[in-house]
């Protein structure tokens, strides 16, 4: 085999392997480090979803306490009855606003509960991404009596 043919076959093999890997992990297997690293909410939303703004949608049921006595454990639940492919939670006043980003498979439902830490009282955004990429969201203020980030 001459060198050129070898390189060509190698490239074809690599491309095939990449396609196979992508097919096996229909949900991106990578943790979105860039979005978790942003210290501004709009920038974090943009990094994660490609658009800075979401449309306010009353169809999103966002359960969050008005007053969280213990910022170390703030229970949140986001529910949207329509089709969706992702749900994410952003806490404006946390050092890094993105708290959690959930990916929903074909069989997944936009109904997720999680407990997070909040250092201070803050606006908390729940964002839902529809299958076509459209962003919906809603915001709530959570007052924190004792911060939960230690230090």
């Amino acid at each position: 085999m001459n060198r050129r043919l070898f390189l060509f076959k190698g490239a074809a093999f690599a491309a095939g392997a990449a396609l196979l890997a992508r097919a096996q992990t229909a949900l991106a297997a990578a943790w979105p480090s860039g979005a978790f690293d942003r210290d501004d909410t709009a920038a974090a939303i943009k990094e994660l979803f490609g658009a800075e703004k979401y449309a306010e949608d009353a169809g999103i049921e966002f359960r969050a306490p008005e007053i969280a006595e213990n910022g170390a454990v703030v229970p949140l639940q986001v529910r949207y009855k329509g089709p969706a492919k992702a749900v994410a939670i952003f806490v404006e006043e946390n050092p890094k606003p993105l708290a959690a980003a959930f990916e929903l498979g074909e069989k997944g439902a936009a109904n997720v509960g999680v407990r997070i830490k909040m250092g201070h009282s803050s606006l908390v955004h729940a964002v839902v991404q529809k299958p076509g990429g459209e962003l919906l969201g809603t915001v709530k203020e959570v007052k924190v009596t004792i911060g939960g980030c230690g230090g």
Partner: protein, 98 residues
């Protein structure tokens, strides 16, 4: 990891608690040294080889993370859960839907 999976109203409800310190990297120890960040980055749930749910978590998720999610499934499904943290530690668990 403690997992409960239950068929409920036409869907399956999965509740789990993963044992993990979820250090934010913001806290300090008694000597005033910063405790390095240590947290679960990604948790996935598979049913029959298909990923139904994946959670990307940041250091702001509470210690011993609790998660609740739903997927379109039925009694008898085997739900395989797996997490990996920012130091490369991993854990798995499986639950049968009741």
């Amino acid at each position: 990891m403690k997992v409960k999976a239950k068929a409920k109203g036409g869907a399956v409800e999965v509740k789990l608690i993963a044992k993990h310190p979820m250090e934010s990297g913001q806290a300090k120890d008694k000597e005033g040294n910063r405790i390095p960040a240590h947290y679960i980055e990604r948790l996935t749930a598979e049913v029959g080889g298909e990923t139904v749910f994946a959670a990307n978590l940041g250091p702001a998720v509470s210690k011993n993370p609790y998660l609740k999610f739903y997927y379109d499934g039925a009694v008898g499904d085997k739900v395989s859960l797996h997490w990996r943290d920012n130091k490369g530690m991993e854990a798995s668990a499986e639950a049968t839907v009741k």
